[in-house]
Symmetry: C2
Subunit: 247 residues, 2 copies
């Protein structure tokens, strides 16, 4: 019953944190109306990026904490050999940029996977803003802590069997989409098979084979970049396979 507000980023003057449709998942979550107002004046609402463009690049000076308004992005680290490693995949309302906190340079690159709009708390403002709005400080600590446990979960996922990894990836994505009021059943992948493989540390061939296998089992249907989850419970069972061994 919150007043409906246009999703168009183009109507720039109107869009504030107070009326943003993502206020339930983004920074404002848990902050008072007054705090949000304070923050909203600082937050920079950025222009559109197109597929393949960077929000920031590995090695860039830390630019701030970003949050996606619309679209999806991937976070990529380069290993010693220059190979990509997809460390994260971001949906609207999710925060990124924490990889720049450690030494004021971004340790990863963030790239738009499709047309994307985002907001930013500029690096130079974080300090003063946190001092003025202690609740924001607490929220930022909470978010960066969340980024840490998410990375641990990702690491844990990638130690499981290829089948469990793919199942886990779909379940995670489904849940995160649901949280944002989007369909957790009809999933539109913006990642390529190679990207998914990169995220799960599998080859694209293995990802392809396993999506087909899940389809053959009747758990999902796959058609190009669109995946429909037919049986989430069975998918979950598959994900937890190792614990209920032997059946």
């Amino acid at each position: 019953m919150t007043p409906y507000v246009s999703r168009e980023i183009n109507t720039k003057l109107q869009v504030t944190c107070q009326n943003c449709n993502l206020s339930e998942v983004c920074i404002p979550r848990g902050l008072s109306h007054k705090d949000v107002e304070r923050i909203s004046n600082i937050v920079v609402r950025k222009k559109i990026l197109h597929k393949g463009e960077y929000l920031y690049r590995q090695g860039d000076p830390f630019r701030g904490i970003l949050t996606i308004k619309a679209g999806t992005a991937k976070l990529v680290a380069l290993d010693l050999d220059g190979n990509e490693f997809l460390t994260g995949y971001y949906l609207p309302g999710e925060l990124l940029g924490f990889d720049g906190l450690a030494d004021d340079r971004h340790a990863c690159s963030a790239m738009a996977l499709e047309t994307l709009t985002y907001c930013e708390i500029p690096a130079e403002q974080i300090d003063s803003l946190c001092r003025e709005v202690p609740n924001l400080m607490r929220e930022l600590f909470r978010h960066v802590g969340k980024a840490l446990t998410t990375e641990t979960d990702h690491h844990l996922l990638n130690q499981r069997s290829a089948e469990e990894r793919v199942a886990g990836f779909l379940l995670d994505l489904s849940d995160r989409l649901s949280c944002r009021g989007l369909s957790g059943i009809e999933i539109n992948l913006t990642l390529s098979r190679a990207d998914i493989g990169n995220y799960l540390r599998l080859t694209m061939e293995t990802v392809s084979r396993l999506l087909k296998s899940l389809e053959n089992m009747g758990l999902i249907t796959v058609s190009a970049k669109s995946i429909r989850i037919l049986d989430k419970d069975k998918l979950r069972d598959l994900f937890n396979k190792s614990s209920s061994e032997g059946v």
Copy 2:
């Protein structure tokens, strides 16, 4: 040339952040004398823990940010099946506890690997202390950011070949010991083979085989829990093997 101060935690009254021998690597790093004084009054210097005792357990309410004064600790997450996953291994001056930031409960357990002493910024004090000492806030953000990139590096390491993982583990440990003024050559492992395997997501058999193999190559000598690095450069070459393929 800083005045030498007893390492004995038992002489409680004397030990402050100002005179702690770890001030170059721990929280005080980069803070003014005055800031350190302020913090030192809040920091709680804890009693001795013995091998196998917990600093905190998964599910416990967030207790604060801890730093090890003497000894080593492991950070362990339990996966869905109840299997251990060793997410981190901590040396004196290293901070832990960030796994409790996200939802005020610790996502991991921290266990002493040997007799251990540590200090603590209690959870309830972090907020006010950060407000009084903005430089501390910045340092904490830096540290939690570091924890995040460290976890990504760990994740990346665990995607490499078993040989590279073991070599990388030894190199990392060696460097971290060196930073603390300890020998990076004569390494005393406090982790068991199973723990190392757990950290590197290898079986203890594989770890054992590869330590033996590195010994046969003349890069290290192994005797029980004591490892001596004989040729760090060659060890580094081995770690970077995949990039200089074919030789």
